[in-house]
Symmetry: D2
């Protein structure tokens, strides 16, 4: 079975986040990973387009009942009809999670993946967490490029 | 987006059900339909093997947290960690449902698909329903061959 | 913790089913059982009204996002926003299931409860199942009165 | 229908978080609100005990299949068998959310509630969020006492 990587991010994203997501999709597809995403707009659409352009498989896990609003670049659509609870399904289906940018939905996926506790959770330009004492909450792997996000997610190390 | 067809059936099935499921998988793949199934053993494994052998895409929607127990012929695995509630996800992801054989899990998928009410629900050798007055409950489309199951599911008519 | 009994049935039911559901609610409340139901109309509303009238606790597990359409006699509302997948939650929350009347949603609850396999599933005037060979599918406990439904669900035996 | 308030927090919490949760439970019950929580240990057990001690109704929405690990002070148990996806159900069942302390599970509930967007989300001693530019992410209502948490959740204002 191929490695599956969830890519999460805002449905309304910046141009940079869109470029990053597209690149992450290309890189994952090039390495043979299946992309699992929310299948909507913004980061979700960009990663689907990127993976599709590189001949990869992309599964969209949708919150509603059908294909409405789904990216046209998905290989298959899972219609959960469960709203944002589908975020838990995306997380359980993944061998690693990459979050690009910050939003409440994205944060719920990051939190659920950290709660799961046994897969890498990578953040590219996302929100950071501070505890009640002002200390950074550890665990999320912050990176600064799509290339590095994919390397960390797949556990690949490259010479410096 | 390709047509998606859910194929349901017992995890412990008869040899005939297995042959039927394999053939349904082949036929759906040959027509370009994506197969959505539970991804486990029995009818699920047979339809996955059939679709895979014909070069089709098969998504397994699993009840647990990971790939344990998943058929090796799946293109991608959705790990719901929601037990049999995943049956509702299989049903919402489908443009048609084909049930092969009878079991309580299969019946729940048939019932959820009929409750949904807007897709064909086809039964090949499955259980039948009788109301409290002894009358047959209408709605499920009973067929007697894999070929006919796929035709009815896809809304294809063939000359007699 | 009190015993919890799920009561299922059509949202559009007959007058007799409504009377039966009301009586089942009264009897369960009188025995200290918590009623879990779908919280909507028909059998769901009647069992909630019955349990409430006898001072019992009734939890409604709703398919949507809020209280819209919820029976006014519920002690608490669980809004799943998961559509009919909430039926699996009703089943897992119950120490026994009583189905009153037949519908596709009701059948999905009966099927999920039988699939679970470790609790009594009682049917009062519901659909019956026949396998592909015409034989009755065993397992569901058919009864013919609300009193008997509650006795069987709670495992109570009474002198003849 | 009574107001329903979700109270979330770590299953392993500090003594102060436990006191805060107990007090929040008492205050909510005293105002007639139904408490919805995860039904487990730590903050969940403390809020259940507090609400129960004040004669209130507390519903525990559990991740597993049964009553194992459930607080003994719950009025009713909803067994979702959906793991942390139950967090979405807690959020949809609430007219307001109070988070006490920080953990990944708690964060997922806060994020899902903010994603929902139409209810107050109150944080007592929880984690804070900073965006990629270092600015605080607005929206969560930080308070510093159980009394204030309940006032803000219920939209009650008191003279200074």
């Amino acid at each position: 079975m191929a490695i599956q990587v969830a890519v999460c991010g805002p449905s309304a994203c910046t141009a940079q986040e869109e470029r990053h997501a597209h690149r992450v999709g290309e890189l994952l597809a090039a390495r043979g990973a299946v992309v699992v995403c929310g299948g909507g707009t913004g980061v979700m659409a960009a990663v689907a387009r990127g993976a599709h352009s590189a001949g990869g498989l992309v599964i969209g896990v949708r919150p509603g009942q059908g294909h409405a609003g789904a990216s046209p670049h998905l290989s298959a659509v899972i219609a959960t009809n469960m709203g944002e609870a589908r975020n838990a399904i995306i997380v359980w289906s993944a061998d690693a999670v990459i979050a690009i940018g910050g939003s409440w939905g994205t944060l719920s996926e990051v939190a659920l993946a950290m709660r799961r506790g046994d897969i890498p959770v990578v953040s590219l330009g996302g929100w950071r967490l501070v505890d009640a004492d002002g200390a950074a909450v550890p665990g999320i792997l912050a990176v600064d490029s799509p290339e590095r996000a994919v390397e960390v997610a797949l556990g690949v190390t490259t010479a410096g």
